[in-house]
């Protein structure tokens, strides 16, 4: 046993010696170099393998999404933006009209309401976790925030629906119910993002403020939150970007609508993600009347165009998060 070890060691030492003769400082055995190269190639390949579908998705959405904008009301090929200005009110069959105006308004209203509910709760909870909480309560809240992160979006929708059914009455579907569902999904995201940002604030800053006799709440507002405001804004914007594309909870809690509804307290509303699904579900339009302008693929065009708009909104939010972060972050050396 020991003899084998010695011989293999000697053999290994021999190869090392041979290689180190050329360059003693960079000597790496052939096997180690091979493993290093192979892993580098594998890791590069993994990156490429993920980029392929992502580029594929982006180009597909862009190229197919533009189609609806190139068809005008008479079915001619003509760049126009009536897709953004019309709702689906009175649109039927394969008529090349009908748009997402009502859906965009619904999405903005519902998402903003969800943000108004969840951002204060989320940031205050993060402040509590970082600045106040100690012991078992801190562990419990951290744990349950993590658990809440894993709530499936459709369960959040069912919860909001059930809550409204108990409080208002069975079958209540309004924008506010949808906003409640989105808020349930948004709060833990805001808490996690904010908590990370607050933790990054150096303790020296807090201690310096305390040493000057500043009360705790002012330390939190003027030092901790001020220092991390860029990170908080980024976190909130990314949380909005995450929930703005949620479909399942809105399908359940808000339903679908063909016309504009700006009252989140009453009646169903259309939202952009739900619009995509409902157009996709319609399948090819049936063209019966030969006198009317009819495109069988109009529903598909609408779905892709709405997907393009949704992706552009999400991208704008992400870009906005970057800009806010750059503009507002305190100028430190880090």
């Amino acid at each position: 046993m020991s003899a084998t070890v010695t011989t293999s060691d000697a053999a290994a030492a021999g190869t090392e010696l041979k290689e180190s003769a050329s360059s003693p400082l960079t000597a790496v055995s052939r096997r180690r170099r091979f493993v290093d190269r192979a892993m580098t190639a594998l890791i590069g390949a993994a990156f490429a393998a993920a980029i392929v579908p992502l580029v594929w998705l982006m180009t597909t959405v862009a190229s197919r999404g533009i189609g609806r904008f190139l068809v005008d009301a008479s079915g001619e090929r003509n760049l126009n933006f009536n897709f953004l200005e019309q709702s689906m009110r009175g649109v039927s069959g394969g008529a090349p009209e009908g748009g997402i105006y009502h859906a965009v308004v619904g999405t903005v209203l519902i998402t903003l309401t969800a943000a108004v509910i969840s951002v204060p709760i989320g940031i205050l909870t993060a402040v509590y976790l970082v600045e106040y909480a100690r012991g078992p309560l801190k562990r419990a809240i951290t744990f349950f925030v993590d658990v809440m992160t894993g709530i499936p979006s459709i369960v959040a929708g069912l919860f909001a629906y059930a809550l409204a059914a108990v409080i208002v009455g069975p079958g209540t579907k309004t924008g506010l119910v949808g906003a409640g569902a989105l808020a349930v999904l948004m709060v833990p995201v805001v808490v996690r993002a904010s908590e990370e940002m607050l933790k990054l604030v150096p303790h020296e800053l807090r201690e310096a403020a305390y040493a000057l006799g500043v009360p705790k709440w002012r330390v939190i507002v003027k030092v901790v939150l001020r220092t991390s405001v860029a990170g908080l804004a980024t976190g909130v914007t990314l949380a909005i970007a995450r929930v703005i594309g949620e479909t399942a909870p809105l399908l359940i809690a808000v339903g679908v609508a063909d016309s504009l509804n700006t009252n989140i307290l009453d009646g169903r509303m259309m939202t952009l993600p739900v619009y995509i699904v409902s157009e996709w579900r319609k399948g090819p339009a049936v063209c019966g009347d030969p006198s009317a302008v009819c495109l069988p693929e109009i529903t598909e065009l609408r779905a892709w165009a709405a997907a393009l708009v949704l992706i552009l909104i999400v991208m704008a939010l992400n870009l906005g998060a970057r800009l806010i972060s750059k503009h507002f972050s305190p100028k430190t050396g880090r």
């Binding site: 205050l124 600045e131 894993g150 108990v166 009360p215 949620e246």
Partner: protein
């Protein structure tokens, strides 16, 4: 603690009486403390409320007799030997099967991508690549679903035909015994898993990358100074440090995969069996996708039964998350790199 500090100051400035200044300073502090504590407790209340309200609304379906339920709910077919709990059983199997396949595909790829961005890509490029991943994590699931259903399925179907022809002896790829072929449309469990994998890759990557980037520079430099190659440095310094983060990231991905609705709903052709043949259409469905497909047309008892399914999904994700947290906290204690 802070009260005594302010009390001293108050005694010195006796103008408005000691309690005056103290109150003036303490009220905002207390209010702030109270508000933040209240928000934190609200989260616990919300979580309890999710369980409570789902249970309340699911109660009629859970307590109804099987006959009663089958009469009221069209999609429960007693002649096929189905009851609510059996359907939930089929759906749990489908959900776990699809999610497990998605994670098997996504996790190794994600760790590779995260390592590529954090330690292999040129530094100037790394920021841009990280930004790319952040953007992709934000693509809405419904867009993945649309893309999967309209663009990916036509490309996958011939691959499945090839798999069934050449690897059909593997139970996973077994063709339909009646026709000897697999689904020509590709609306099968494996397609859903592939699209789900693409959806969770950005999530797992983003979290893993953050963790890998936090590896202490001293550990990296120590490994390199000992003569380690780049891969050896990653194995010795980066991966041990990031292990708990990767597990957490994977569980985050699992949570997303288990509860993902739209992508599965738009891709899979649903069915209720315990089949392992992931290339046959009409064999599997997930809880979330099933709820989404039945909810719009459901009557009162149907909604109640679907909420009971939602409760089951909630309990499963709760269990997965709790397990994940336990693993992460246990591993964090051993990673030894908290400095």
């Amino acid at each position: 603690m802070s009260g005594s500090r302010h009390a001293d100051a108050a005694v010195v400035t006796a103008s408005g009486g000691p309690s005056d200044l103290r109150a003036r300073r303490d009220v905002p502090s207390r209010a702030f403390h109270g508000a933040s504590l209240g928000s934190a407790l609200l989260i616990l209340v919300t979580l309890a409320a999710v369980a409570a309200f789902l249970l309340t609304e699911a109660w009629p379906a859970l307590t109804a007799s099987p006959d009663e339920l089958a009469r009221a709910v069209a999609w429960i077919k007693p002649e096929a030997g189905e009851a609510l709990f059996q359907i939930i059983g089929y759906l749990v199997f489908g959900t776990v099967l699809v999610s497990a396949m998605a994670l098997l595909i996504a996790t190794p790829l994600s760790v590779g991508i995260a390592l590529f961005i954090s330690h292999f890509a040129p530094r100037r490029l790394a920021a841009g690549l990280g930004y790319l991943v952040d953007l992709l994590a934000a693509i809405p699931s419904v867009v993945y679903g649309l893309w999967g259903a309209m663009a990916v399925l036509p490309r996958l179907a011939p691959v499945y035909a090839w798999l069934a022809e050449h690897l059909g002896w593997i139970p996973l790829f077994a063709p339909d015994p009646a026709t000897g072929t697999v689904s020509p449309t590709g609306r099968v469990a494996l397609s859903a898993a592939i699209v789900l994998a693409i959806m969770v890759i950005p999530i797992i990557t983003a979290v893993s990358r953050e963790v890998f980037l936090q590896t202490p520079t001293l550990h990296i430099e120590a490994a390199l100074a000992l003569g380690a190659t780049r891969w050896e440095m990653i194995r010795m310094a980066v991966l041990p440090f990031g292990r708990s983060g990767v597990v957490g990231a994977t569980m985050l991905g699992l949570g997303r995969a288990l509860g993902e609705t739209m992508a599965v709903y738009m891709i899979i052709s649903g069915g209720l069996t315990l089949s392992w043949s992931v290339l046959q259409a009409g064999s599997h469905n997930t809880i979330a996708s099933y709820i989404a497909s039945q909810f719009p047309e459901a009557n009162a008892m149907g909604v109640s039964a679907l909420i009971a399914m939602g409760l089951a999904l909630f309990i499963i994700t709760l269990a997965v998350n709790m397990l994940a947290r336990w693993i992460v906290s246990r591993r964090a204690a051993f990673s030894g790199a908290n400095g």
